[in-house]
Symmetry: D2
Subunit: 149 residues, 4 copies
């Protein structure tokens, strides 16, 4: 059971539709794998197109899915006819992002009417292990009367 009550009855369709309109997530081949009020998870399978110079996931790819998961964790709680923007985020890359896929999970820590704060975590997952590779904090803003679509 989620600890948050969404304000928009259409929250789930709205979030999935918004995610699907993100050309960047499609280009990265990222998928929204879990969605609850105040929580979103994204998976990103490894490809050399996503690598940095040592062959691991690029911190930019790690950050991109962490930021996006956070945005949708927050957006799920927003009222109808509003949009979400990332104000800022900070991310610590705590271990090499090496594995078959990344798994980003974002959760709302503090829902506010204007600002929402999310916790961001990314794991590097392989057949044998799952390692926390990034942890972050994000501030979102709710733009009222600006429909997302």
């Amino acid at each position: 059971v989620s600890k948050f009550a969404p304000l928009d009855p259409a929250w789930e369709a709205k979030v999935r539709d918004s995610f699907d309109r993100q050309g960047f997530m499609r280009y990265l081949e990222a998928r929204l794998t879990r969605l609850e009020p105040g929580l979103a998870a994204i998976e990103l399978p490894f490809r050399t197109e996503l690598a940095q110079q040592h062959g691991y996931f690029h911190a930019g790819a790690t950050s991109a899915i962490a930021d996006t998961a956070g945005g949708y964790a927050g957006f799920s709680l927003f009222p109808a006819c509003s949009s979400v923007l990332t104000v800022e985020f900070k991310i610590n890359l705590v271990a090499p992002a090496m594995g078959e896929r990344l798994h980003a999970v974002a959760e709302v820590i503090k829902p506010g009417r204007t600002l929402v704060i999310c916790d961001l975590k990314v794991w590097a997952v392989s057949a044998v292990r799952e390692v926390l590779c990034a942890t972050g904090l994000q501030t979102l803003i709710c733009l009222k009367d600006k429909p997302d679509a």
Copy 2:
């Protein structure tokens, strides 16, 4: 004239070679447009593959080039036989990243033997204007005796 003296005479070739090995930068079609000791700039032309749900550059793309520019600004000052890792970065998305291209510029603020701090700025550039769309701070670590290639 740069205010920093590189420790590795081969710094420029080393940085360019490392950038070229980043599958992610190639996939994004990002180009290293300027390189000096302690400074790197990256350009990213707009494509719908880089967009978020409103059609602007995705914050993940903005962050990816900012982080990469910072990494190479720092790496340019590192001794031979060392690698660079991003410890963490924080980025404020201060205006919609809309335009024909993004232009990220990173500069070393504080060079240290182990840690290096960079200032990150990203502009959204179109024919008629240039708008600061992101500003950030980044911490890098120098891994000695770990050649990048």
Copy 3:
């Protein structure tokens, strides 16, 4: 000449009055030494009461004046009848904060109607030198119709 035009004609008195009501700044013996639209500077003389375990300025004291300078840099641009709150800040402690006094300077990078972003810098100053000891980024929010006093 400042690059920002204050919205409240009484901006200077308003900021100085607010600073004077901060028990914490008084307790630290911090002084507001410079004030312009979008810019504030604070000085903090050294005392052992402000030290960490090695005898330098405590990062908490460094952060406190950096955050406060940023808050008033932003507040100077706010309309009448509004208050300022720090949403978040990030600070890198780039050199030991040792010296006779700290000198924090905050400047608005991006003024917005709701959110304002500030650059924060702190120097450790002694008779013989001035060393950048901290650099940060801060997000402020303007609370309308909530007078500060």
Copy 4:
């Protein structure tokens, strides 16, 4: 049971002794209320000397105890003859810090040989409630062969 094994058998005395040498914590009348390997908690009773302009705890006081708790959470895991420095921290002030006291709890998320990452949380506590007022992330560095005392 702690999930971390301290490297220095004298970790507890070492941390308490270091905390006691912090003039700033004493001046704020902050107390170290809980200490485990990888975890530290600090309490700060309210006084008007710690207030900002609206009479709540100043964000600088909130940050100071959060940063200090994080520093000692990390230091508890360091080897003998080493010191701790805060590289950087980021903190979101998510609710007004009003109450009888603040309660900061820091936990190591990622222990490394050189860098340690901590989660920081601060609650504002009164007789009737306990509200999360700040959440942060911190990067520490372990300085080997530099005894703290």
